[in-house]
Symmetry: C3
Subunit: 133 residues, 3 copies
């Protein structure tokens, strides 16, 4: 299997666009599925529009579901870190995108992003894997 | 890769059952995975029971997470359109279903559905792709 | 396709760790993707850390989104069963994990778990399928 691991510095950033890295990975391949996989217990991946306000709107929605308060049993790390551990149940760390003739079959407004609320762990890995069709 | 794009008219309908279209696509194939992919930034796909009240229950749950109010930075479109752009972070636009001997390995009560809160965009595409096992 | 069905007794337990079962299934295989699929309309699969408090934190988050109250149109089963049917829209019943040289490419703190709020149905199936890369 053609697979690689990206090394990302996310710092305190909730949403990191990785579309170009994924597009580069599949470039030159034929048809298939590319799987994006985050090997961390406090992050997920998603396909959203970036740059038009959805990043802070997502942050607000997460606050409604998983508020940054001292309400979690999971007690390691900074205030609210417990919620980071619940996030992957809702924002999966694994997503697959069809690849047609070496290009991501994304819609016009879709970008592949890492969703990482965990500022305590500023460096992240993302594994990309290509399955031929 | 065996892949096709469905053209759907969803109009103002939140939940559109596409099980029969997906079943038809995999009919006659052998074993593998079928990937359902929505190339839009304001819709997702899910596997739920249909016809027993879950559609309006889902609408209510979305209203708790993403209320239709003027609270979003994303300001294009109708009131609440900003929330449509957050939805795919929680209801992924990509899901894969095992196929056994040309049949979807769904449970008795599972239907494949498009979740589309975006009434501003009444026509939608859904890509189906078959990966042989 | 190499595929098998696990038979699990979840009883009243919300989170059931199936990492070792999935690891055993892929052991000895080469590279590829393993798909975990729950053929039920009231359960999902996720990758989370177990044993550090995230299980009850997840239960609390589900209660915020899908409270166990008499508010659902879906009226079969015990109080709150209607919410069990909405859960799979948010916690997908399908997830894929990369396999490298017969081992799950999970992060240190990731466990594969069944999320099953439905105490009315104590016995569950989970299908594992391996796609070669």
């Amino acid at each position: 299997m053609d697979t690689t691991v990206l090394q990302l510095h996310t710092g305190q950033t909730l949403v990191t666009d990785i579309t170009s890295e994924v597009a580069n990975f599949v470039s030159g391949k034929n048809d298939g599925l590319v799987n994006i996989f985050v090997p961390h217990a406090t992050a997920g991946v998603a396909l959203i529009e970036t740059g038009s306000g959805t990043e802070p709107d997502l942050a607000d929605a997460l606050e409604r579901i998983l508020p940054v308060e001292d309400i979690y049993r999971h007690q390691h790390g900074s205030l609210g870190h417990g919620r980071d551990h619940v996030l992957p149940a809702f924002v999966s760390p694994s997503i697959s995108i069809p690849v047609i003739d070496g290009r991501l079959a994304l819609g016009t407004w879709q970008s592949a992003v890492l969703i990482d609320p965990n500022g305590d762990n500023p460096d992240r890995k993302v594994r990309l894997s290509f399955l031929p069709g």
